[in-house]
Symmetry: C2
DNA sequence: TAATCACAGATCGTATACAATTAGACTTAC
DNA sequence: GTAAGTCTAATTGTATACGATCTGTGATTA
């Protein structure tokens, strides 16, 4: 469903599924993934408070494991923890948003080049299927899912490049980007990314690293320019209302 | 003592001291820093098991807070956690070592350029003092401290560049580099870095971003080439014996 | 009426207790 | 003598309980 194979690496375990959380064992990982998924699909708005008791009740877990999950998410940048105040869905500042896309513009083109040079036919097919799914979700009006898929397209490239360290960095950056887009996206067009992703796929199929690097760089600079980085007012709402049949 | 001012940012709190741990509140942070310091100074060998009970007893804390610390360190890459088996000081594989220095060679030159363009006179002085301290420690034979200082020189540059996201990445990479050097360093010369660091300082003082970027890139490539990336055999030892008056 | 203070409820930080899993050692069989 | 199997001790995973801190409400006073 989510195209996270990684072609050459054979390390099984917690790191394999989706957003690799480097550590939290047992059930914490499940909750991490569910919360991350909910945040990435914009079902949990930035700034929303994630009370330990409340989250634990929703997912049927104890505060111990919830705490571990929240800490892991905090480290990924998706959650902010304030001492003696609790955890909140992160609200990237305009400056952080700027920095995130600067970092992406530096790292992802390099990964795109590496991926283009070593990509296999099977991975090419997977990327193609991924783009189709993204296209379909976009046309079906499910923008949350479309955005989530758009993000995992980028992480898929990092996995194909088979550079674990940078892939980890990109994953964190992509996650933050999702929040940033939720807060600061100004464009209306829904077809914003399809073109670049198709162009990337073409460069990949031709194993043209140079072109892939250039396309990816332009793509991210373009995304960056699609943001309206002005401060937004805060909002508040309840958690139980938005997370119902998710446990 | 450790040159972590950061010239322009005014965010106080947990992030200010040394290795910014994004989250763990209260005493977990203390233990994080102490463990990190011990690992970075090679007082805790890679592969050493960090039992929760044992660490808790050494630092006079409960397993709860120790667990939080270990998870945070695991996310920084300094510790590996295996489910139902416990935490260990990380043993970067040769491949991980390679990837870490590739990432550093990509990110740090950019930061060096940014730092050179905006560095203040006060920061220049601090960097100079830092180099002197490094030099002194090196000549005093305290290689652990010298290496630690050498690492914090790089993080200081990231702080001066005032790019929080990339600075965080670099911090993690530097930490891992310390482990990598402990495992794979092959050169004998102790004066390995002084020259590059001095050259960097000169470029900074002239606000020559171009030169700083180039020097930093060569410097990291040079460090990378100083590694002997062949597999090492494992070792085992006790924790209590090496951490005595540290609580 | 507005501002200050005090109190109560709620939430987080930490410690402890119990359950589950693992690792090592001993026994036993071949 | 070696290998397999079982059992016990140790360690981690999880839950719960208690103490500390914060936030919001209400009373009191100028």
């Amino acid at each position: 469903m989510s195209l996270n194979h990684s072609n050459k690496n054979q390390d099984a375990g917690a790191r394999s599924l989706e957003g690799d959380f480097p550590l939290p064992p047992g059930r914490s990982l499940d909750i991490c993934q569910k919360l991350q998924s909910a945040i990435l699909q914009h079902r949990l708005e930035p700034g929303l408070k994630l009370s330990e008791d409340e989250v634990g009740e929703v997912y049927g877990a104890s505060r111990t494991v919830v705490r571990a999950s929240l800490q892991a998410l905090a480290h990924s940048g998706l959650v902010t923890i304030e001492k003696n105040r609790g955890a909140f869905v992160a609200r990237p500042t305009p400056r952080e948003a700027h920095e995130v896309f600067e970092a992406r513009a530096l790292i992802e083109p390099r990964l795109a080049r590496m991926a283009a040079e070593t990509i296999s036919d099977a991975d090419l097919e997977r990327l193609k299927a991924h783009i189709d799914a993204e296209h379909a979700a976009s046309h079906a009006g499910d923008m949350g899912k479309a955005l989530s898929l758009s993000g995992s397209f980028h992480t898929a490239i990092a996995d194909i490049a088979d550079h674990k360290i940078m892939a980890q960095m990109v994953r964190s950056l992509i996650s933050r980007s999702s929040l940033i887009i939720a807060l600061y996206w100004k464009r209306v067009e829904t077809t914003c990314e399809s073109h670049s992703h198709h162009a990337l796929l073409k460069a990949f199929s031709e194993h043209d690293g140079e072109a892939a690097e250039e396309i990816q760089k332009s793509h991210i600079v373009d995304l960056h320019s699609g943001l309206d980085l002005r401060n937004k007012e805060e909002k508040t709402m309840r958690l139980s209302d938005v997370l119902s049949g998710d446990a």
